[in-house]
Amino acid sequence: MSTAAPPQVGAAAEKPQKVGLTERARAERKLAWMLCAPAVLMMVLVTAYPIGYALWLSLQKKDLRFPDETGFAGLDNYATVLGSGLWWKVVGNTVFITVVSVIIELILGMIIALVMHRAIFGRGAVRTSVLIPYGIVTVVAAFAWFYAFDPGTGFVNDTFLSPDDKAWFGGRGSALTVIILAEVWKTTPFMALLLLAGLTTIDEGLYEAARVDGASAWQRFTRITLPLMKPAIAVALLFRTLDAFRVFDSIFVMTRGAQDTQSVSILGYDQLISRLNLGLGSAVSVLIFIMVLAIAFLFVKGFGASVPGQEDS
């Protein structure tokens, strides 16, 4: 939840030159720090403290149901989690859901962004209607999809999609399919919006010049649009990957993790909230946090994700 701290802040702060700061620059910087201080303090209080507490808990033997059996456990909790077949299966599920849904979202989002960008009439209406799914509460959207596919209440089994009476949430493959569909439906607009922001920064003159030189539409897309949109795409992918990796609501509503459809967040929830095993659950949470950090690091270092509009001076 609080794990997706904006990763770009650090990258931007590294840049300033080291030599010869003037008196004035130094004073300005001091003022800047003071202006930021309350916000930083707040952030430390509401994010650093819980993260630190979770780290500490993950090294303890602590189960609320057994108040007498507590103590320092070292890395035992981590050994238990990492040594469990269930953990790796669940990580596999999560990666699968993330990769598949983000790829579909990227392709659909790009198409929608192009449509929104080129829409001649009703621009506002098109953009608004595309955004509607993103405005719906995730749990509500998950219930809508659940009821649509449920054999008892759903309409899907009455359509051409499924001539038989299919129990969609009774099998792993079909349950994962519905979960991914719900995720894609819900967050493609977000992807499209981020990509649209990238599209609008491209100078129209480039396209005109390319057209004059005889470039086809496909060449204009691959040679101009894609390269110039690279930063926007990287940011969109980063945000969506981080989000998708923490998928919880849809799975919780549709299967509650049954038929091997658990994600890492569901697994953490089960240990923490259902079993009250704070030690083990915190270890799972910390591992999720580390994986999320790793994803952010990979994107920032590997793909050069940065804030849209930032000059690479």
């Binding site: 003071m34 201080a37 309350p38 303090l41 209080l45 189960d63 609320l64 149901r65 057994f66 108040p67 238990t80 989690v81 469990s84 269930l86 953990w87 449920d150 054999p151 008892g152 009476d165 299919k166 129990a167 949430f169 009774g170 299967t255 509650r256 993790g257 049954a258 038929q259 697994l267 089960d270 240990q271 909230i273 259902s274 079993r275 009250l276 095993n277 083990l280 799972v284």
Partner: protein, 417 residues
């Protein structure tokens, strides 16, 4: 210097803000907060209101509603109790939470002067769910059990068979379904436990030892496998719960269903034609020569250790569990009383027309889930993973090993679940 001043200002502001939201949420000193799910019949609310009135202003019971599903109720409660919330006075507890809550030190044991009225004429099976280490920790207020519901017009001879195997034979021959609860949730533990007990086995010997005797457990798993793979199994059997079972039965495609008595009133309203042909019998057996072990549900009332009004709370409980109040709850919501003698009451007989005695027999013979274990949640999760999905349950040997592994892991409280 300036920064230190601003830092201090921020801290002061924060302290003010925090103390403002940390205020007491207990209400007046006479208010008893009762955390319980919103029972649709409204019986508990009526009874609590009456008791508050009769107390002459000594206490006033206020309901704080929990979600409808037992898992979700428990999750909200344990979060409050884990944080030692003083605003919780009375707790409406599922019969399976006693061990966990008592072991965690969240419950005030029932005082001597309440033990008498709390256990007088109460079914022994029900009373067992209220005890932890031989001490009465909570007070039963209503019970529940599953019955075998059948279609009088479809069953040969008008009488239901006694065993699961015979039921499956009949249903397959008639091309009709059998509705059960087999989603991966507590309801599946209810089924698995009833099967294993009725085959002559049990799941654990006390909180730390796996029982699962090989022969009866394999027999139970064999029957469950047959149930899951039979053509009498409804399409969504692996995601079925009490509600989908009820809805399935009400469509008229089913001949049998195991479920709680709420289905009777539901059918009366939703499917009058089916309702006319609906019969009730004691829960099916695994083998004809062994007793059935019907599931046991219901609610016990506990008093939180962190409550500031424990004496008042127990006084309120003494009032709410009175015989006439149990009848009111039964009348309004169909929830079976915990006092055995009430089943002879003509008023109760009228609430369960023709099956009040079946209900009494069922609660009396009921086989509880192994909830004396403080780690019951682990056990429940383990059992669920061990037998779900029924449609893909392996041959008895393989299924037995899987279930045994999960239960052992749960009992040792090791690893992830």
């Amino acid at each position: 210097m300036l920064s230190r001043v601003s830092l201090a200002a921020v801290l002061v502001a924060l302290a003010v803000a925090l103390s403002a939201c940390g205020g007491s949420s207990g209400g007046g000193s006479k208010t008893l907060n009762f955390y319980i799910f919103n029972e649709p019949g409204g019986g508990p609310q009526k009874v609590a209101q009456e008791c508050s009135k009769q107390s002459g202003g000594k206490y006033d019971i206020e309901f704080k509603f929990l979600p409808n599903q037992a898992d979700a109720q428990r999750e909200q409660l344990v979060r409050r109790l884990g944080a030692e919330d003083e605003s919780v006075d009375l707790i409406g507890m599922d019969v399976i939470w006693t061990g966990e809550f008592a072991n965690a030190g969240w419950l005030e044991p029932v005082p001597e002067d309440v033990v008498g009225p709390a256990s007088s004429k109460v079914f022994q099976s029900v009373l067992n769910t209220a005890k932890f280490e031989d001490r009465l920790m909570v007070v039963p207020i209503w019970s529940n059990t599953q019955l075998l519901w059948y279609r009088k017009d479809k069953v040969p001879g008008g009488k239901p068979p006694a065993t699961w195997d015979q039921m499956i034979d009949v249903a397959e021959k008639q091309n009709l379904k059998i509705n059960i609860q087999a989603n991966r949730y507590e309801g599946l533990v209810v089924l698995a436990n009833a099967m294993i007990l009725s085959a002559g086995g049990k799941i654990v010997n006390g909180p730390t030892e796996v029982a699962l005797p090989e022969e009866p457990t394999k027999r139970a798993l064999e029957v469950m496998r047959r149930l899951g793979t039979s053509k009498a199994a409804p399409t969504g059997i692996d995601t079925s719960n009490e509600d989908t079972a009820r809805l399935g039965f009400e469509t008229g495609d089913s001949i049998f269903m195991v479920n709680y008595p709420f289905v009777y009133t539901s059918a009366k309203e939703n499917a009058p034609k089916i309702f006319k042909e609906m019969g009730a019998a004691v829960y099916p057996r695994v083998d004809a020569d062994k007793e059935p072990k019907p599931p046991l549900g219901g609610i016990n009332i506990g008093v939180s250790k962190f409550s500031k009004k424990k004496d008042l709370a127990f006084e309120a409980i003494r009032c709410m569990i009175k015989a006439e109040n149990q009848v009111t709850i039964a009348k309004m919501g169909g929830l079976p009383p915990v006092r055995e003698d009430l089943y002879d009451d003509p008023e109760v007989q009228k609430i369960y027309p023709g099956f009040a005695d079946v209900l009494r027999e069922s609660i009396d013979k009921a086989g509880p889930r192994p909830s004396e274990s403080p780690a019951y949640t682990d056990l429940s999760l383990g059992i669920q993973r061990g037998v779900h999905p029924l449609t893909k349950l392996g041959a008895p040997d393989e299924a037995y090993d899987k279930l045994h592994d999960y239960v052992e892991q749960a009992v040792k409280r090791e690893g992830l679940l």
